[in-house]
Amino acid sequence: MKRSTRIFVGMVVGAQAAFAFATAPALAADDSIVLALPTEPTSLDVCDDSTHANSRVLRGNVVESLTRLDPQTGAVQPLLATQWSQIDANNWRFTIRPGVKFHDGTPLDAKAVAFGINRAMDPKLVCQTYSLFTTKTTASVESDMVVKITTAAPDPILPAHIANIDLPSPATPADAKSAKPIGTGPYELAARDIGQSITLKAFAGYWGKTPDFAQATYVWRAEPTVRAGMVKAGEADIALDIPYDQTKGLSNAQQYSTNSVFYLRPMLQKPPLNDLRVRQAVAAAIDKQTLTEVLMDHSGSPTDQLVTPLINGNIPNYAGIPFDTDKAKSLLAAAKADGVPVDTPITLVARSDLFSGASEVDQAIQQMLEDAGFKVVLKPVDSVAWSAWARKPDSLTQPVNLLTSAHANMSGDASLSFPNFFTSKGRLGVANDKELDSQLAAAAVAGGDARTQAYRGAAKRAYDQEIVIPIAVLDSRLLTSAKVSYQANGFTDMELHLADVRHAQ
C-alpha cells in the first residue's frame, strides 16, 4: 500500500471513529429516566398545579396533598393525612401523617398544613387551585398533628376536594408565587433549564417507598413525531400524547382515557338555539361514530354525557339522541313552521388545540350540520380568543354560536363539572333554568348515594334540554422504553407519578 493511500485510509478510519464518538446517542443511565412531554409547565408554584402541564411534573412527584383519589374508582385515599372526620356540616378534622419531612428538612405538622391550605385559598395570590373551591375554605391548627378545615358552606366531599391542594414547605413565600417548589414528594427539584428541561432527583428523606429511579428528567418536545422518535431511538423512556399512527403495531404503546370529554355548547340565549327542537336537531345531525372512528384516529369514543363513569354524576346506560339526519331535518322544519329563524347563521367557534386533528373534526361537524339544513360559519380560534366566547360575562353578548370545548374531571365528583356548565351562575354555562339550579344546589350539600342520585337527576335534565351536546371521550397514548414498566391509568394525562414507573423485569 502506498504511503498516501495509507494516510488516506487512516484519515477515513479516524474520521469515522470521531463521528461515531460525536454522534453516539446520549443514553440515560440505568437509575435515571427521561420523559418527553408536549408542554412545559407555565408555573412551578405548588398552588398552580391544577393544569395538566404543571401537575404532570409536580403532583405526586414533588408535592403531595392530604388525600388522593384512586385513579380507577375515584375513591378518596389517605396520603399526608392518615384519617379525617366531620365535626359538623362546616368543619372537618384531619390527622397528619407523622414522620413526614419537606425537602428542606422542615417537618410536616398541622401548622405547615394550615399554611399551605390558607396560602392556596388566598385570593390575592391568584392560585389556579383557588377556583376549584366554590366555598371559602380555611384551615386552623387544633394540635401539633391535627388540623381543622372550615368551609363557609357545607362541603360533604371536602376530603375529595382537599386532594386538589398540594402542600408547600412553610419556607415558601406566603404572598408571592415561587418557582422553586418544596414539597414532601418522593422527588425534589434538582435543576431547571427554562424551555428545555426539568430534572428531579429522588428525595432521600421520603416517608414512603423509595422510587426505582434516582433521577427523572422532563424534556419538552412540541412535535409528537419527535416525542415518539425519542423513545424509539432510546433517548427517552416515556413519551406522552402520541398519535395513533406513531404507535400502530408497537407493543410498548398504551392507550388510556384522559377522562376528558369533547362537547358542543349551544348558545341558549339567542335564536334559533334557544329553541329545544333546534338543539335536538344539532344533536341528531352529528354522526359521533364516524367522527371518532374516521377523523379522530382512535383518539376518542362516542359519548352522550359530559362526565365519564369515574364521576358520580355519570348516568349508567344513558343514551342521548342518536344520529339521524332526517330526524334533524324534521325537527328544524317543525321549528321553522312555528316561526323560529332556523336560517340564522350559527358561528361554530372551533378551538383547534383541543386534541390532535380537532380542525378536521370541526370541519366535519360544520358539514354535518349543513347537511341537516343549518347555516354554519366556522370560526377557528385559539384558547385565548375562545375564552371570550366561553366565559361569562362576554359569552352572553356574543352572536348565536356553537362552542367546541373539552372538559376533564378526575375528582370523582360532579361538583367540579355540573354547576359550572348547567347553572345560571356557572362561569361556563349559558343556561337559565331555575329548576336545574335548585337541583344542583341540593346535590351540592347532599352526601353518599343521595348525592349521586341528585347529580344524575340534574344531569338527565340538562342532557334532555341539550344544554351541552357531548361528542366523544378523548383517549391518548404513550410509549415506554424497554427499560421501564409503567401502567397508564385514568390520571396519567394529569398526574404521571414517577413512583409508579418501575424497572422493567
Binding site: T42, V126, S131, E223, V226, G229, L428
Partner: protein, 305 residues
C-alpha cells in the same frame, strides 16, 4: 463612509421604533394572558387580581407610556411564563441563535460558492444540470417536512444522530442542515447567475485568451466582481436565520431565540415578545451594517460613492 453608516444606523433605529410600537399594540390585540394563566372557570376577582399584578388593568396608552419609559432603561418587564426578567430570557437564548446562524451561513457559503461557480463555468453541461437540479430541490423542499424526515431516517431508523435538543456535537447536525436547506439552494443559483454574467465579460475573455486557467480566473477575479448579489442574498438569508429559525425550534427544541419567541407568542408573554423583537431588531440592524461594510470592501466604487 462614517456619514453613510450614521445615516443607515439612524434610519434603522427609526424603523425599529416603529416595529416596537406596532408589536406592542398587535400583541395586546391577541387577547388577555389571564385567559391562559388562569383556569377557564376563574372568578372575576381572580382575573382582576391577575391583571392588577401584571399591570394589565391600566388603559393601553398608560401601559404604552410605561413600556416606553422602561425601554430607555432596557427594562422590558417580567416574563409571565418564565418568571424572570424578559431581557434575561431573550439574551440567554441569543448566543445559541448567533452561533447556529453563523455555522449554517458559513457552511452555506462554503458549499454554494464552489457549486454555483462550477455550474457557471460549464453551462448546460451535465454538471451544471445536476447542480441546478440539486439547488432547485433544496430550495423547494418544505423545511418542516425535511426536518421530520431527517429525524425519522437519521435518528429513529439509523440511530446516527440525536432526534432533538442540544447536547453533543451531533445534536447540531440536523438543525444546521435544516437551516441551510433553503439558503443553500437559493445562493447556489445566485452564484451561478452572477458568475455566468461575469465570466462572459470582456476582461475575463481577454484574460482567458492570454492563457489564464478558468479556476484562477473564476475564484481570483470573477468571483469578486460577482460578489455583490451574493452578499445581498446571503445577508437577507442570514437575517432570516437571526429572526428565529422557528422550524428548528419547533421540531428540534433548539434553545434559541426562535423557541423563546414562539413560546412567548403562545403564552401571551408580552414582555418577552417585546424584548425578543427589540434584540432581534438590533441584531438585524448590525447585520445590515456589516453587509454594507462588506459591500464597500468588495467594491471600491461603493466606498467612493
Amino acid at each position: 463612509m462614517i456619514k453613510f453608516l450614521s445615516f443607515r444606523l439612524t434610519t434603522s433605529l427609526i424603523a425599529l421604533v416603529g416595529v416596537m410600537i406596532i408589536v406592542f399594540f398587535l400583541a395586546r390585540l391577541t387577547g388577555s394572558p389571564a385567559s391562559l394563566y388562569l383556569p377557564v372557570d376563574a372568578t372575576d376577582a381572580m382575573i382582576r387580581a391577575f391583571n392588577q399584578q401584571n399591570g394589565l388593568d391600566q388603559p393601553i396608552l398608560v401601559q404604552f407610556v410605561h413600556f416606553v419609559g422602561n425601554v430607555f432603561r432596557l427594562d422590558f418587564g417580567q416574563s409571565l411564563s418564565q418568571q424572570r426578567p424578559a431581557s434575561e430570557a431573550v439574551l440567554s437564548a441569543m448566543p445559541q441563535t448567533l452561533l447556529i446562524a453563523a455555522i449554517a451561513m458559513g457552511l452555506t457559503l462554503l458549499l454554494s460558492i464552489p457549486l454555483g461557480t462550477f455550474a457557471a463555468l460549464k453551462p448546460n453541461s451535465p454538471l451544471d444540470r445536476a447542480i441546478t437540479f440539486f439547488s432547485l430541490v433544496t430550495s423547494s423542499i418544505p423545511e418542516f417536512w425535511f426536518a421530520l424526515v431527517c429525524v425519522l431516517v437519521f435518528s429513529v431508523n439509523l440511530g446516527l444522530l440525536p432526534t432533538s435538543g442540544q447536547g453533543s456535537l451531533a445534536s447540531w447536525v440536523l438543525p444546521v442542515a435544516t437551516l441551510m436547506l433553503h439558503p443553500l439552494g437559493v445562493l447556489t443559483q445566485v452564484v451561478r447567475g452572477a458568475m455566468l454574467e461575469t465570466i462572459n465579460a470582456g476582461y475575463v475573455q481577454n484574460a482567458r485568451a492570454r492563457g489564464y486557467s478558468w479556476q484562477r480566473l473564476a475564484f481570483r477575479h470573477a468571483l469578486r466582481n460577482a460578489s455583490l448579489p451574493i452578499i445581498t442574498v446571503a445577508g437577507d438569508r442570514a437575517g432570516g436565520m437571526l429572526n428565529g429559525a422557528v422550524i428548528v425550534s419547533a421540531v428540534f427544541a433548539w434553545p434559541g431565540i426562535g423557541q423563546v419567541l414562539v413560546a412567548a407568542v403562545y403564552n401571551r408573554d408580552f414582555a418577552v415578545i417585546q424584548a425578543g423583537v427589540f434584540v432581534v431588531g438590533i441584531a438585524v440592524i448590525l447585520l445590515n451594517i456589516l453587509v454594507d461594510l462588506i459591500y464597500a470592501a468588495a467594491d471600491p466604487r461603493i466606498r467612493i460613492s
